[in-house]
Symmetry: C2
Subunit: 200 residues, 2 copies
Amino acid sequence: MQSVRTDYDLYMPRVSQQQLDARRQEILAGARACFARYGYEGATVRRLEEETGLSRGAIFHHFRDKDSLFLAVAEDDTATMVATVARHGLVQVMRDLLDRAHSVEVPGWLGTQLEVARRLRTDPDFARRWAARSAAIATATRERLGRQRQAGVLRADVDVDTLAQFLELAYDGLVLRLATGQPADGLGPVLDLVEASGPS
Amino acid sequence: MQSVRTDYDLYMPRVSQQQLDARRQEILAGARACFARYGYEGATVRRLEEETGLSRGAIFHHFRDKDSLFLAVAEDDTATMVATVARHGLVQVMRDLLDRAHSVEVPGWLGTQLEVARRLRTDPDFARRWAARSAAIATATRERLGRQRQAGVLRADVDVDTLAQFLELAYDGLVLRLATGQPADGLGPVLDLVEASGPS
């Protein structure tokens, strides 16, 4: 059945959902690079325009404000992380980060997350939106460990929550280290040790 | 033998080294509380005056500028940490942090360290001064592990540097977690696991 064509359609450019999604992805990619390069504070609207190649009107048609844009980039990470955690575990997420530690973008982007760390303690609304992100990864980590325990391939002397928190502590440590530009050389064997100490 | 009294002494108030040191400690304690409460950026000169109960003249007689004051508080931590690491290891430093995680001061002070994290990547002079701090702790950690290896009480299948970096990763993870105000409940058993995985 054909959809009814209204007068509204005659006056509005017809933009498909696909085009909207593509535009949204373009903005996210540009924003991520911009945040990574200039930091959260330094990523001004002008710089966001330059990096995305779009006007502020176009950018803030898709995202309410800079916070929303920042959190949307973080949500993008979360989706990727949750998928990797579910299939290969949190240590694999760390290995992937380590592989990209020599680019500018990964440490820079992580750096912005530290930059807003203070707001996590002082801005309850921002903290709540950020917490949703952490919760998704925490759940995926615990579900995977639960499956491993059921399959009998997880060490039995430590409970799942302690193992999950152990992995999260190592992940947070890696984030801090990369974000502050400390050398990441020699961390491969450290992640092996983390993996060997935790699951199995 | 009596020291020679010069004309200089006649005109200057006589302040003993002990008094100078005591004044310096007072400033450091006030500055630490001020940074913890307001963050690095928020710790204005006026607030530093309020918190220390001293004039800006008195404060900056002892410390060149706010950066120097901040780094001096960090150096104070370093001295304490190095002593604890040498005697009891880095895991004990983590346990001590955890014990004080419910106060305002520890998470707040760690938060300021994240706040300046961006400067570690963008300000080489500041990074160099900060690096001296990390190096002292890194050395103490490796020296203790080296002594444990010599005494035959350290697992022999992982080299000292990997074990040290493993402990440092957990420490950095704890710092990030406390600094962002995430709950620290249940971390006791996680630190037990860190300790058991490393220098057992």
